[in-house]
Symmetry: C2
Subunit: 234 residues, 2 copies
């Protein structure tokens, strides 16, 4: 006589998912406890835990520390993106990386930049415009503001040689980050830097960081046409 | 005499991060085991575990089941996005949702669609074009392909009344999803549907699902100008 086959965590996940889709567990319902599910399936509790993590990752259920596991009313697709240092991204594509400083100046923050940081009054910050190149072609144009109150050291960095993106990632810890994606038509200025026709559709990554409540930096990165960002899978 | 203050997981995280930034733990290094760090800080192992999860989430370290924790050579920003059912997204914005079926036809898959699925030969699929509206304004135009081999039930769905997005999410489990973001200039056709000038920069979400190795659906969602997608925070 053969023993019953041990269920893997993917088996458990698929069975729970089938119950969610068939409304055995309906939207908003609380699922049985991990240990009860483990007992039902005759598997380890850690197997159920792994299955539930995946279902949460997929956006089908929500896990709360004390409140157990609930079926989400409307499932979402949860997608995770890694946004690397631009130099690394270029090199990962097997291309040669180059960097050009375009401008560097102390300026008063306009309202759009204040809004990104949640500031109510304008403040003087260091504005740095720079171009990242892949195989001598424009890859990303960045328009960055660095708060010189939280980050006075930036004023001593030679930004003609060292890029602000990399310097900040390596030297400036942050406690909060806001990331937004959108699309915009290239203005005459950034079309010029990206060597693309004015009006081209550009993929925009906006990234803002704080340490505590103090702003560190906000950057608008405009990718050259053709850029595509793929979510991590698994 | 007062007892020493108990470290919280955020304290532990900040101290480990400071060591990574100061190169006490250099890029590529393996960190001490959780239990050794716990002993050093005089805290629970679960506290270290929570801190490490956050550092991994931030893209500073990489955790492997058996291989321990390593400092990533080049930190990345890890951003997680929830892509809800479009109706839910519209309603979450407090707007009235509407839906219009534009067309529905059996068509041979063109090469771009074959590439998204990883297919080598064309196949007949159901192509569904539809418009999602928010407060009577175009919100997202979707151009979708549904594989009728894996999903023959779609042929019986009344797509003038029920939208394919929601029907699939609620009825069709998938085991793999691919999500990509990009930007494109509106063609005459989609500019017409989105009521925007031809050439407008559109934010594009491409989402493809499979069950096992069988294609289910691939959709290109074009958002009306002004659309912005923000990452989850915390």
């Amino acid at each position: 006589m053969s023993e019953p086959t041990r269920l893997s965590w993917t088996d458990v996940r698929d069975q729970i998912r089938a119950r969610i889709l068939s409304r055995t567990y309906a939207p908003g319902d609380r699922l049985p406890r991990d240990e009860d599910i483990a007992q039902e399936f005759g598997c380890a509790r850690t197997t159920v835990h792994r299955a539930m993590q995946d279902l949460a990752q997929m956006g089908l259920v929500e896990r709360k520390r004390k409140g157990g596991t609930h079926v989400l009313s409307d499932p979402v697709t949860r997608a995770t993106f890694d946004i690397p240092i631009t130099r690394c991204e270029v090199e990962q594509r097997g291309a040669k990386y180059d960097y050009q400083l375009i401008s560097r100046a102390l300026e008063q923050t306009p309202t759009g930049v204040m809004a990104r940081f949640g500031l109510h009054t304008p403040r003087e910050m260091l504005r740095v415009k720079a171009l990242h190149l892949a195989d001598n072609r424009p890859y990303v144009f960045e328009d960055r503001w660095v708060d010189t109150q939280s980050t006075p050291e930036i004023l001593d960095v030679d930004l003609t040689r060292e890029n602000a993106n990399e310097w900040l990632v390596h030297n400036k810890p942050f406690s909060r980050v806001d990331v937004r994606f959108s699309a915009m038509n290239a203005t005459a200025d950034n079309a010029h830097h990206l060597d693309t026709p004015e009006g081209s559709a550009l993929f925009v990554i906006e990234r803002t960081t704080w340490i505590g409540s103090a702003p560190i930096t906000t950057v608008q990165s405009l990718a050259a046409p053709g850029y595509q960002l793929a979510a991590n899978t698994g």
